[in-house]
Amino acid sequence: MSAHRIAIAGLFVLASGCSKSESTGPGNDTTTGTTPEPEAWEHPRVDADSESGAAPGDLGGGPLPPPSRAVRRMRIDTLQAAMTRVAGSDVYGVPIEWKYNGKNGFSDGAFGKALGRPDFQSSTDEGGVSSALYLKFVGDAARDICTQMAKNDQLRTDVTTRSLFPKAPVDGTATETQITDNLRYLVLRFVGLRVAADDSMIPPLRGVYDAGVETAAPGAQISAAAEGWRGVCVALFESPLFHND
């Protein structure tokens, strides 16, 4: 479980500020009340001895303690790792990453320094807040990665291996339930939250999906529905929930 997902899960425990608990961290499903098995792509739980297995909470440790510091923006190294983790691999098994002029976009040879990664010569500090420059390049990275994810998913005949739309077909036959299920899956995949079908996040994300379907260019490399999922992908990558550490 990555640090930012732990933080979000911990914050959920502190849900006293909200009138109702709509979203949960990984491990609980508000729709069924059960504890589902982790998705195949999820990071395996690691115990105190660094062995894969049960998490401390499952050993009777109780809920995770609240975070002891303020939430801050993730560092560039964390962002790079998180986006790569969420993006998964292409049909050849090669990790999908942001590419610019043949380099990883997050590398210092591309935009790493512009994003604020310290070089420990002229700079030693890394910003802890989102800036316009940071989010501009995050947007570039998201569009690049999401396009690759959509293109590769379209090539996958086994829908269960898809990373962007495993729950809904993109040939125009998807039902309302399938679209909602896929939105819930993407919220879990991108920001680590299990949300119910009637969660307040779902309608606006559905709006993003619909806008993508509506504005897809005829004859484009990816279908109208895939363009909708690409839009949702970009929106989730740009969401403040993705960037908090």
Binding site: L11, F12, L14, G17, C18, K20, S21, E22, S23, A70, V71, R72, R73, Y100, G105, F111, K113, A114, G116, S122, V129, S130, S131, A132, L133, Y134, L135, K136, V138, G139, D140, R143, D144, T147, L193, S200, M201, P204, L205, G207, V208, D210, A211, G212, E214, T215, A216, A217, A220, E227, R230, G231, V234, A235, E238, S239, P240, L241, H243, N244
Partner: protein, 481 residues
């Protein structure tokens, strides 16, 4: 995948903040320094030029006559006889008659041999503040002290940098696409001011092209998708509420809207310094002022102080930015003889020449009111500290507390020097704030916060953010007295 276009206001509208920054600020819960009520056509502009790594002021702003201070065993040794940089050597040996002092006709300021064009063309506008006590010999501390006007907490900056405060305080944030532009690796700080005033940091004009348009246009998303995404981001989700205790979500959303506006506008064209611009175009005029060969502009601009100054010029005269902070020059940290006699004066000269060209351009370019942009621009050149008055055993100079800065522009009385360092050891001398003349008995030791307060007062802006530094307005610097 049709590229869409969104204005900043459209996005603010999509965020439910159609009233602009004032409303958005309420949404963010962060203060403007003052209500957003300024007139962008009369707004005070600011250019800060950092000469990084500690400058040798004997070369520039606080020189000594080599004929009087040419003894290596003296308290101050100019070292001008050791200089190897050809243009600087020529000034010392020929133009100044061996003194190293540059003082054009009518100029009341004595400059060092690394300042030429600036003194000749603009001495009437320039005010040199000498004998400022920097209180530190550590690069990071001095740099951050001068940027914020507040002495750092350890190495950590305290407070907001001057240009951030200026942008927030003047009440024009919603009138500029990039209110606060920071280039060349300069540091910028925002402590408890609206994120709209935060500096947008870019390495140079080349990166502005990458910042101001999508890196890959074929991957752009339609404007309708962006508007729908804005509604998603703005939604009152429970987890947003939980995460936003420290303002992280609000700050993120503000920065996100700025990023969309930047990436989908046409601002990049102003920073596309292409070869052979059309006759009569603003770019041709820019090249002429900055002595750029139109056939190969990159030769003169890329990685050069002139390129940073041209970036500032375009941002200001095209109404993109109100304040610009440039790390104009990264000087050599001149402790050794392979730098101090050669690269250090050469880099200072390049920086001051670029400043001169920037002033010329702002004087010759008119705003919507038909007045030169320079009439409402304030400029300050600074470094984190100065260099020792004696040459060290390695043939260079080490760090020295008594520094200087160069100020010019709106409300500032030009062609004068404020303060002085001692002739015996280059130490600071107290100054009479009303006259600018040294007063060893009753005077005041100058600090960066005093200069900040004076510049802000000259521009009609408050300076209560540095009140805990007990800043004193240097009345002698003000045109109004």
């Amino acid at each position: 995948m049709k590229p869409g276009s969104l204005s900043r206001r459209t996005l603010l509208g999509a965020l439910g903040a159609g009233g602009g920054a004032l409303v958005l600020d309420g949404f963010l819960g962060l203060p403007h320094a003052r209500a957003d009520v300024g007139d962008p056509d009369t707004a005070p502009l600011l250019v800060l030029c950092e000469f990084a790594n500690g400058w040798d002021t004997l070369y520039s702003l606080d020189p000594r006559n080599h004929q009087a201070f040419g003894d290596p065993s003296g308290g101050i040794y100019t070292g001008f006889d050791m200089v190897t940089d050809v243009p600087t050597k020529a000034v010392i040996e020929n133009d100044s008659g061996g003194t190293g002092i540059v003082q054009p006709n009518g100029c009341n300021i004595q400059f060092g041999p690394a300042i030429g064009k600036l003194a000749k063309d603009h001495h009437q506008d320039l005010c040199v503040v000498r004998a400022m006590h920097m209180g530190t010999l550590t690069h990071e501390v001095g740099r951050r002290y001068f940027l914020t006007g507040k002495f750092p907490r350890g190495l950590t900056a305290s407070g907001s940098s001057l240009e951030t405060w200026w942008a927030a305080a003047s009440g024009n944030l919603d009138s500029y696409q990039i209110p606060n532009l920071v280039a060349g690796g300069a540091e910028t700080y925002n402590e408890n001011l609206t994120p709209l005033a935060s500096g947008l940091r870019v390495p140079s004009y080349a990166e502005m092209l990458q910042v101001l348009r999508p890196l890959n246009a074929s991957y752009a998303t339609d404007g309708k998708i962006t508007q729908a995404a804005a509604k998603f981001h703005q939604g009152e989700h429970c987890v947003h509420e939980q995460l936003d205790a420290g303002g992280q979500v609000a700050n993120h959303l503000s920065a996100w809207s700025s990023a969309q506006s930047l990436a989908n506008g046409g601002l990049w064209k102003h920073f596309d310094f292409k070869a052979n611009p059309p006759a009569g175009s603003p770019l041709e005029s820019l090249y002429a002022t900055f002595n750029v060969n139109p056939a190969s502009p990159a030769t003169a601009l890329a990685g050069k102080p002139r390129g940073q100054a041209a970036l500032a010029a375009q941002a200001l005269v095209n109404g993109i930015s109100q304040v610009v902070l440039l790390r104009l020059v990264s000087l050599t940290d001149a402790h050794f003889d392979d730098d101090w006699p050669s690269n250090h004066p050469a880099n200072q000269r390049a920086g001051f020449d670029a400043v001169s060209e920037l002033i010329t351009y702002l004087k010759s370019t008119l705003d919507k009111n038909g007045k030169p942009f320079w009439d409402r621009t304030t400029l300050m050149c600074f470094s984190e500290f100065a260099r020792t008055p004696k040459i060290n055993q390695q043939g260079g100079r080490d760090h020295h507390l008594a520094s200087a800065c160069l100020v010019a522009g709106a409300g500032i009385k030009g062609n004068q020097v404020i303060g002085a360092t001692k002739d015996s050891n280059y130490d600071v001398r107290p100054v009479n704030l009303d006259t600018g003349i040294p007063d060893d008995e009753m005077g005041t030791i100058l600090k960066p916060s005093d200069v900040h307060a004076t510049l802000l007062q000259a521009a009609g802006l408050p300076f209560d953010h540095i009140s805990n530094q007990s800043p004193k307005v240097i009345k002698a610097m003000l045109k109004s007295g």
